[in-house]
């Protein structure tokens, strides 16, 4: 019975069908002889089936829906009695705070170390977006979701930048079609989350420096 603890640790992936064939055979051989592990596997299978059922019924809403939901909730009456300048400052903090948790580890996202809400410039006043940075092994991955960007013309593209003062490091480039939407992931160095800001510029030549055509920008917040 010395195998018992090791086999017991494999029962979760076993009921999920996630073991290698040789491991699966080992577990099945053990289950034939061990009533307590059979009972444990039965219990875990119930949890697995419920979870699989939930996963089947969950669907990721469009990334901008959360912002629309929060923006459209009716404001509390009490807030209207506050002086307007206080409201403006509080609202600014509130929006930053709400958007800072947009990509908080959750049921359907998960693992983000830092995130930024992207605010539009005059060049794309309807645009918006979110950037999240998460650890992947020894490196980072940046996920960009943006909407409302003007479609790229021929040989035009957008570039995502990590920004600190006047320093800019490119995190990757992308194009946008008629939908104006993009959802892309870029590899990033392990220190990507140490930059205070991110920004997106429109580019149309081979100059590696950032152009002055800023489309979106935002501050990175640690999560």
């Amino acid at each position: 019975m010395s195998e018992h603890p090791d086999i017991r640790d494999l029962l979760g992936p076993y009921v999920m069908g996630a073991l290698e064939p040789h491991e699966e055979r080992e577990v099945e051989d053990h289950l034939e002889r061990c009533a307590s592990c059979r009972e444990e596997a039965r219990e875990l299978r119930l949890a697995h089936e419920r979870l699989a059922d939930l996963a089947y019924n969950v669907e990721s809403p469009p990334p901008d829906l959360k912002v629309r939901v929060v923006a459209r909730i009716p404001r509390r009456e009490a807030r209207r009695r506050v002086p307007s300048w206080v409201t403006a400052v509080a609202a600014a903090f509130c929006v930053l705070a709400v958007l800072a948790v947009l990509l908080t580890p959750d049921l359907f996202g998960g693992g983000a170390l830092a995130s930024a809400d992207l605010s539009p410039t005059d060049r794309a006043p309807e645009a918006g977006g979110e950037v999240s940075i998460r650890g992947v092994g020894e490196n980072m991955e940046m996920r960009l979701e943006a909407w409302g960007l003007p479609p790229c013309k021929r040989e035009q593209y957008y570039e995502l930048w990590l920004v600190e003062g006047d320093d800019r490091v490119s995190a990757g480039s992308f194009t946008v079609g008629r939908s104006g939407r993009v959802d892309v992931r870029f590899n990033a160095p392990s220190f990507a989350d140490s930059y205070p800001k991110v920004g997106i510029t429109a580019e149309h030549d081979k100059d590696p420096r950032a152009s002055d055509t800023k489309m979106l920008s935002g501050e990175l917040h640690e999560l």
């Binding site: 979760g12 990721s60 929060v70």
Partner: protein
Amino acid sequence: MDRVEDEVLVRRVASGDERALAELYDRYAGLVYGTGMRYLGDRETAEELVQDVFTSVWKNAAGFDPARASFATWVYRITRNRATDLIRRRKARVQTVDDQPFRESGETDPSGELSRNFDVAAALSRLSPAHREVLVLAYFHGFSQREISDRTATPLGTVKSRTTAALRALREIMSLDE
């Protein structure tokens, strides 16, 4: 980071905390949206359902009584009722236009499956972050145990034993709630 209980977040929503509403959105919007897609059949109406449900949570949070039901049960009822309203509204509209009966089951969640899903979502939100992470990556992102190991920089053996422990913890929470 410790997970704040749903019921604590509802209290914060009642006092006007939009961040708390955003956190509840993170936990349940996927299920509400999925419910909309399943029962209402199109993205636009599913988005309307999400908007309606979370606006209702915002407006009625002060009346939520955790002694009577969990937040998951409460938001499930709101979702079911709003989905039924949207089905009826669309049914009336379609009959007016086409003068044909609308093909619809007429009842949202007759088998109770949707209710169970909300309970499981609530149980999942109560797991430790490490346990929740392995289950979310496996079930909601479809990653293999090895891929989870690579993505989280965790030894493969640890991922397997953690997955087992996470399923066990989930089962225990669900048993307590039953």
